[in-house]
Symmetry: D5
Subunit: 123 residues, 10 copies
């Protein structure tokens, strides 16, 4: 089962705004209806809070273990995406967070889900 | 014949805005003039209404069956695109919906049609 | 010689704004100076007027024949692009029209010409 | 139903050996078990018999219509490939014929089938 | 655990030699040392025995289920490859069989393993 | 009309065997049945005779003009390929010559024709 | 030495705003320090002044000869880019001009320089 | 150890705003926890201050040597990116500077870090 | 310094011939003349001896550590390749071994070195 | 002018046969007829003689300088290729040498020339 307690964070090393993206190319979970495996890619992009204000960044290895905890979980695409968004937002309280899941497809249809928290840094 | 009754929906699992894209890479219908088959890709992108307000999302397998129902239908590119847009807008009443059809071409000309309903989420 | 009378149109099948793109990958004309053939791609993208207001869309096969009528015409890149833009704008009076020609190059320089009519739909 | 009577041929225009390949990128048939459509590519490569000895080549448009006749046929990958090989071999009695079908996949597995008749020209 | 009893076969539909390739793009097992998941692609290519001599071909859906049975199995790359080769050879007694596994890599090294049974068809 | 008299040659600059390939990416002729233009690529690969034995190579600019002379010629794929092969073989009497034409396709089928003269250099 | 007198222009053929891009893929100059050759691509994109107001466009062949005049010139990346921008701005007085140079790199670092004159057309 | 004293600059050769990007494709440092090497790409993009106001640009070879000084340095992705941003900002006081590091990944997750100084030129 | 004692092996798990390829995409050493780093890819392909005859395969993690031991070694391309070939041949006594190094290049020239030991398996 | 005296060699570091390929991606010379520059890629592949028998390999930097000496030389494609082959064969007396030149093309035709010396190593 997805286990948010696996996630760890470290203090943002600067107060200057910056953006981090982690892309896990090998994500798998299970379709709750058919029991067949789903395969996809999970992209996490965020602007952490400033270090002097207690901002934190998700630690890379803990993110990997957290994503592996979905391996045998039966969950819809939409639910997987929203759970990851919520767990990471709870961990980091970032200025902005975007979770994108890109699924390799079933029955000739491939899907992408995009969920945000907070406001993206000004462009 | 295209059959909108094949489409099913499920409640949006969150109130936080998010975006879903389904890409059906293997769509085929028939040219109403020549009777020759047309081949293309159908992309459906939408921001569903919030769950607590009765928002719904199109169910993936029902979308697949719906798109298959065009297989032996004679229809112009523009009509196919507008029909799919209208059927999905009627099903979901989404905040925003974009249907894009990308056709592999006839006689050395390939075409793309883009039809929207509602307003895209702020970028 | 380019022959605008080859172009035909059909009524826009909806009043909801949408965008159509036709890409002719195999366009050829002749350099008016050297007599050597030029090869390129012609992209036509437009937002037609609404059907209830008399809006029309260019018919695909007539577009193909029209573009073939440039085959032995001597014309500069810029002129070809402006002529196609003007002929299609006269035919359709669209809300917006963009003609892009992409030339495979002569003497190590490849060129692209972009000509618009009207205003693009709000993004 | 696949209809071999749609196939036509014309006399090989030379006695010098040569090789012809036709690739139909948009082939579709139906899975005989599930009724779902299959999509793929059909490649036909052959060395025709010499013209002075009555050799013939399949005519391109007739090949297109023949392949379209599989559109609503329920047939396994292997059967489709063998039927096309047999029908073309019966039509042309070529020195060599290779039919390759490349399927876009179902359930995450994509397949390729290769069937020959006669001996390939010396390399 | 990998379960060869999931594999099913059907009679080869012809006596003319031909070659079949199935590519499962989404294979996963588990590293027996670290417990971390491995991801890769499994390619199965074979020339079945002739139908009149009792030759059989592996059935596609059963192959999919068989490959899914490795999901939580701890096994080295080399062992996975040899087990699949042995199980399919036992099922089909083919004229020739090649199993190729392509792994996405760990620690910056990606690996490919190729195992054969029998002799490839004359080229 | 194709005009072989446009072709010119120069003496092979060496007696050591070597291979030359010229690829004309922008070839066009006309379908003799429909009158529609065909577009493709012509590849000429050859091993010229040795210079001291009177061997010659086709001159590049003359090849370009020769290929342009097919521009408004109605000819089948197979005939175009065989005519080019015969004209170049007559000009150069090479040790080996291969003419490959790659056509962009009509009606969803793209074709390739390969015609040789003489024997390829030992590999 | 770069020779701006090689540049020629012709009157803009229309008053409707449009954009022209010329890409010279094969540019070379010489590093002023080491004397080693630099290789890169020069992209010139501009919106010419309207024809009725005396607007002009750079002539393609003269642009080619002008760019060739840098062949044995020792010049830094930044200087090459600014010189081309200044010479073309002086020639055309365009509404907007962007010169981009893309260098293939030295010592594992590749560089891109972008220099503008005037304001880009409203997007 | 990273050595900012290796960095050198030269006066901006113009007062017209322009943008420079240097991409070092072969960057390596060491993970401070595991001691394993990290590999990535460092992109430096900046708008230098105008020459007449004392603006300077980083010299290319000094940038290369500076980046090589991270070779055996143990540092996290985020720290590497912020250090390079700070060192280059201190050297150049540019109008705008963006440092992007793209890491090839560890354990199936690849990362990108983007850090800015100043405001990007108006687009 | 390269350290062959880091290499470990495990018994070949079968007597049936098979082939293993490991590709380390991120290899670096140092040019012995200039002291600048070189970057490349190392491909190791081999057919191990049969398990019942004492055949062994190189262990993946030990290969990674061995390749990392070249990090600060000054060595020419040719020497790196021959050393790896010799060290792996000494470790495994394989039926066949091919080491290929692909270097990203210096001064505009990229290089590939291929060194074999023993005879490749019959094709 | 091409200057073979720029070429230097070093002793082959082993007696075990191996193959070296150097690819110079940025070669330029001048067309002897038009004076326009030609651009291309030069690939040099060879099996050096064994070290104990006095075998040598071309030194990489000297090869770079040698290839740069063609920069302002007027020479046909075929001549450039044969000269490089002859100069390198005279320098190294290799077991096998292949020089391939790949030209970016003039007038829509791109060319490749392949010249060998000696016999390729057994495959």
């Amino acid at each position: 089962m997805p286990d948010a307690s696996l996630l760890e964070a470290f203090p943002t090393p600067t107060d200057t705004p910056f953006v981090i993206e982690h892309v896990a190319e090998e994500f798998t979970s299970v379709c709750p209806v058919t029991g067949h495996p789903d395969f996809g890619e999970v992209r996490v992009r965020f602007a952490p809070g400033p270090g002097s204000a207690g901002g934190v960044c998700v630690e890379l290895k803990s993110l990997k273990l957290y994503l592996q905890s979905f391996r045998n979980e039966g969950a819809y695409y939409e639910a997987v995406t929203n759970v990851i968004r919520d767990d990471l937002a709870a961990l980091m309280s970032p200025q902005w967070l975007r979770v994108t899941t890109v699924w390799r497809g079933r029955g000739g249809i491939r899907s992408t889900i995009v969920a945000d928290a907070g406001n993206p840094p000004g462009c």
